[in-house]
């Protein structure tokens, strides 16, 4: 930890001592794993847009990794100007250390989440086990692949999607949801530490009958070679995954990049960016763009985290903290 911290300090010192040539701006966007392709396209679009409007050259450097690990790196000194992570809890942790305002989620529209995804199922070609909804996942003989919510932010959305489904069934309550989710995790043979790992376990290793996944990951897996071996199943109701974005106030101020960083995140909501996001399999917020990509994103009944669970701090404390619900009912119990 210490060594990493020293290395990061050296790194940040090096970036800060770079001579700031009048019109060249460099931003560091610290993001999570599956956004590589997405931000590659978004960054060049934003740079072109900024150049046209202001004449400055903007270079955006990226850092990818597990969402929680990325948040820790920023807390420990990685000089991110903006963060684009998998869940608000990770940005809250950055805000808790005073690196950005606690009000970060209200500064941008739509909970500071420019694009969304839904939690869906990936099944084997032709859906041989007849999996159509959450209830089918706990049938005898069904094996479910989902990553570990303790190590993967994405997997926490999966968990909450299943819980929310059970709550919304007739007569649903916390006890029934708990029993349902417990039974679901008893069908999980492998708990990968991250979402990509789980996708590989399902697609490459042939483990399991169904992969609980983000829709963008499922669509991506279908586009990969051999992707025709899988079908996507959209359940009756699911959670709307809202990956959030925020400017890291302290770093942006220190680097003098505040204005560009703000503009960068606002750009993510423009029709042009929304189109890029849709092409990278994220559901756009813009209704117009959504209409254009209607074939790709089937209509699905979704609920938000805020509607069912309040906020991430509450969800984290209730379900995923040490000794909380997941530890009590997860696999192995």
């Amino acid at each position: 930890m210490m060594k990493i911290r020293i290395a990061l300090l050296a790194l940040s010192a090096a970036t800060m001592s770079l001579p700031v040539v009048a019109k060249d701006v460099t931003l560091l966007n610290v993001s999570y794993d599956p956004t590589r392709e997405l931000y590659k396209s978004l960054n060049s679009a934003f740079a072109a847009d900024w150049k046209a409007k202001h004449g400055d050259t903007v270079t955006i450097r990226m850092s990818h990794g597990g969402s929680g690990k990325q948040a820790r790196a920023v807390v420990d000194g990685l000089p991110a100007d903006v963060v684009t992570l998998a869940l608000a809890y990770d940005i809250d942790a950055i805000a808790d250390r005073g690196l950005t305002g606690k009000d970060w989620q209200t500064r941008l529209p739509e909970n500071a989440s420019p694009y969304t995804s839904a939690i869906v199922f990936l099944v084997r070609k032709g859906n041989p086990k007849g999996i159509h909804d959450w209830g089918d996942l706990v049938r005898n003989g069904i094996q479910v692949v989902t990553p570990n919510p303790k190590t993967s932010g994405g997997a926490r959305w999966n968990f909450l999607a299943a819980w929310g489904y059970a709550l919304k069934q007739p007569g649903g309550n916390d006890d029934k949801a708990r029993a349902f989710v417990k039974s679901l995790y008893q069908h999980v043979p492998v708990l990968d530490t991250g979402a990509r790992g789980a996708t590989n376990t399902f697609t490459q290793r042939g483990i399991g009958d169904v992969l609980v996944a983000w829709e963008n990951e499922a669509l991506l897996a279908k586009r990969e070679p051999g992707g025709d071996q899988f079908d996507i199943v959209t359940p009756s109701v699911t959670i709307l995954a809202e990956p959030p974005v925020a400017v890291v106030d302290k770093n942006a101020t220190d680097h003098g990049t505040r204005e560009v960083a703000d503009a960068y995140l606002k750009f993510l909501y423009t029709p042009q960016a929304q189109d890029i996001e849709a092409r990278n399999f994220y559901r756009p917020r813009s209704a117009d763009v959504a209409a254009k990509y209607a074939a790709q994103f089937p209509d699905v009944k979704t609920f938000t985290l805020a509607e069912v669970f309040g906020d991430w701090r509450k969800a984290q404390a209730k379900f995923f903290a040490e000794g909380a619900v997941f530890d009590q009912i997860g696999p192995g119990n």
């Binding site: 530490t193 530890d327 192995g332």
Partner: protein, 274 residues
């Protein structure tokens, strides 16, 4: 006064202490300091939890078995490399170091691909009811993989320096091959085998990258202790993560000290003239 080849005692010792302090002791002290945040009660609670105990048991138990397997196979492989002349020996010799050079995650993914139920080897084991990937057996396999070179590379020079005529002498005095091995060859190798064992063990206990992909990571069943540390970090709970680290460290240190004491004892025993 005798001239020394390397700089004098004072300078060498100065470098040694400074370097070890910066590279080893300082990070470890930081770890212990961070861990002190959770207090004695916290430590007690942590280490009475069945989950922590299961993970520690898998990490240390697995590493122990893996090191045993490596000592056994390592002796045979080193023997073949040192004593036998066959085509491709040099290539084989170079292959031994591969686990050192390969990023551990790559090793883990490769092992998983091979031993998964649809993998090259896994598909033949699956009908027999043998599951390797995503079970404790998979954990063991990855630990064997990362620890293997340690045994071979510590054993090799010692085996090379063993004179063959001692064996011939034993034989001419009427010793059976078994007696020659047990009474003539094994004793001088024992301290080195122990060193190899200790190194392979230490490497396997802390191994994360390669194990994580093949483990399955089911709590109480196939969850390794380093994964518990990562989980605490995901919760931004640095103190508990550090406490787990300190305990693993203390465990390993005790083990290594005990092994080295045993090693000294066997060395003395080995050096007693027969």
């Amino acid at each position: 006064m005798r001239r020394r080849v390397l700089p004098g005692f004072g300078l060498s010792l100065g470098y040694t202490v400074t370097w070890l302090g910066l590279v080893v002791l300082l990070p470890l002290a930081a770890l212990a300091w961070k861990a002190s945040d959770i207090g004695t009660a916290g430590v007690l609670k942590l280490f009475t939890s069945p989950r922590t105990l299961a993970a520690l048991k898998l990490s240390f138990g697995g590493a122990f078995l893996a090191a045993l397997a490596n000592v056994f196979m390592g002796l045979i492989v080193t023997w073949a490399l040192v004593r036998c002349r066959f085509p491709g020996r040099r290539i084989l010799d170079a292959l031994i170091d591969l686990p050192f050079a390969l990023p551990t995650a790559v090793a883990g993914i490769a092992l998983t691909a091979i031993y998964a139920p649809n993998g090259w080897i896994g598909q033949w084991l699956a009908p027999l009811g043998i599951k390797v990937a995503y079970t404790p057996l998979g954990v063991l396999l990855a630990m064997v993989f990362v620890g293997f070179p340690f045994v071979v590379r510590t054993l090799q020079p010692v085996l090379q320096s063993l004179e063959r005529d001692v064996e011939d002498a034993a034989e001419s005095l009427g010793a059976t091959p078994g007696q020659t091995f047990l009474r003539v060859i094994l004793p001088p190798l024992l301290p080195t085998l122990l060193t190899g064992f200790a190194l392979a063990l230490a490497r396997a206990v802390g191994e994360y990258g390669s194990v994580i992909f093949i483990a399955g990571n089911i709590p109480l069943r196939s969850e390794i202790a380093p994964l518990l540390i990562v989980q605490r970090l995901e919760e931004f709970d640095y103190a508990t993560a550090a406490a787990l680290g300190v305990v693993m460290l203390a465990f390993s240190l005790t083990l290594l000290v005990a092994l080295s004491a045993w090693q000294r004892w066997t060395r003395r025993w080995a050096e007693v003239p027969a």
